[in-house]
Amino acid sequence: MAAILIYSDKTTLALELLNAAKLIAKNNNFPIKAVSINNDDQAEELAAKGAETYKIINPELSLSDTAAMAAALRQAAENVDADTVLLSSNRRGKELAGRLAQVINAGCLTDVKSLINENGSIQCVRNVLGGATIAIQQITTDKKVIAISPKAFAAATDEAGGSINECLVNINPSRIKLIETRAKAGDSVDIEAAEILVVVGQGVESQENLPAIMEIAKNLGGEVACSKPVATDKKWFGEERIVGLSGKICKPDLAIILGVSGQVQFTVGIRDAKTIVSINSDEKAYMNQMADYVLVADLKEVLPELVSSTLENQK
């Protein structure tokens, strides 16, 4: 019986993949195998969660060399007789997915946000047309590579029955040299974890308004996020605060959206919020149709009031 192989460079994501694999294995009895690459701690974590784990220890193999990583995973998949490979759809995983799929001649889907096991056949749910629609798709080739979005599944918990085995792979000399790894400039805010988000759009005309917006978020116990142009064009914030298709997909309890017109590449990142408030000077802004509560107002005028009344609310 062909196995399911899981791999992520990040241990938390690997544990999420373990749960995703269990959903696929249901009704199929596919065995689940995990692989770790140059990461003993991850191998032990996976084994502690019940996974039959294969660890690759090879100093020649660098995570930065996607070609070598795809070659290693091809060999690991062959060793354990796996037809389906689950990867994490973080940046490394997504880059690897396309290359591995080409190497093993597999159909591939990335950014998969949920899986449906329909009597043993696996359906993948993902955003298409920039997030305007949600497609349910199936890979029709025998070999499959599926990259699953972070947090789409809960991480697997402790379970008996795991094991650690070694897996040998042959790697060609790398043509990519890692010169330096450095910490990222910018802050380490996690907008996906925030229960309340105050989101800055291009309708916030001046950077002078940002201290007030930061204060509103602080008063509410939330975080500040932004639409993509505010980070990439205006450079008011780092990319870690971008909401949307190529940023973060957020599901806060409350999203207060300030001056966002509401293009679909943005709304896909916030439409799962429980309650959405749109404050916008343009009553025709598409964002208003996506909101539960709409306040049509000049942001410059309402921000001071929002600062004082949220401060009041804190007491």
Partner: protein
């Protein structure tokens, strides 16, 4: 050396309307995705820094012959196109095969640049697949690219760190949106674009299908859309719903 930028023609996402949860794509104008425009700008900047030739490669429906002028106006010197009206929504594997096929017709390729993902599907597979087909090293999610002689230094941005990588060319690179701000072509550049060389390649466009789409619908979400007049009222409502005071 030739600098190659691969771009995908997509429907203008802002013109897509939804009816009965289905996307209406008729009469929607075709354009290039935003991140593809960043890829092109990265190519133009490398061309300016090194004095090399910049070729744009694209696969798409026949309107591409017109759409490609956007890229020629914005700084590409010539275009290699594969036209395909048969398959409206081409799968990544097939696009990659055709793009690689087109690139193979170009001599002395130094660097092939993609956007990190297309504007519509954002699947990010094509660059990686092309790198594998051509047997080239790759670096994804670049925020800067420098060419020194025969080697490229690329800084890539991951979720939690940045990596500086060096490779002998040729190499495949995908770029992020914040690598640059694409320039707006001048009127004279737009006028000249139509006269730049375009080569339409005859490649077999039919590829094996690897995917099936079961459904593709807009999410069903009804929001209340209640208009509120004042901040005071708004906070009162949010308070009553238990959304404040945490």
């Amino acid at each position: 050396m030739n600098i190659v930028v691969a771009m995908k023609q997509i429907p203008d996402l802002q013109q897509i309307r939804i009816r009965n949860r289905k996307p209406i794509l008729d009469d929607v104008a075709l354009t290039f995705g935003n991140i593809d425009k960043n890829a092109l700008e990265a190519g133009v900047q490398l061309k300016e820094a090194t004095g090399n030739n910049l070729i744009v490669v694209s696969v798409g429906a026949e309107a591409l012959e017109d759409t490609i002028k956007e890229a020629l106006a914005a700084g590409a010197d010539e275009a290699y196109l594969v036209l395909n009206d048969e398959i409206a929504d081409m799968e990544s594997a097939n696009s990659a095969r055709l793009i690689a096929g087109a690139i193979k017709k170009i001599d002395d390729v130094g660097i092939v640049i993609f956007g990190e993902g297309s504007g519509d599907n954002y699947s990010g597979q094509v660059g990686s697949r092309v790198a594998e087909i051509m047997g080239l090293p790759q670096v994804g999610y670049a925020k800067s690219i420098n060419i020194n002689g025969n080697s490229a230094t690329v800084t890539r941005s991951l979720e939690d760190c940045e990596e500086v990588l060096e490779a002998e060319m040729p190499i495949v690179v995908s770029v992020m949106a914040d690598i640059n701000e694409p320039r707006i072509p001048s009127v004279s550049q737009i006028l000249k674009a139509g006269r730049k060389p375009k080569e339409v390649l005859e490649l077999d466009v039919t590829g094996d299908s690897m995917l099936a789409t079961i459904s593709n619908l807009a999410p069903d979400m009804q929001r209340k859309q209640i208009e509120i007049e004042t901040i005071e009222k708004l906070l009162k409502i949010l308070g009553n719903e238990g959304l404040l005071r945490r």
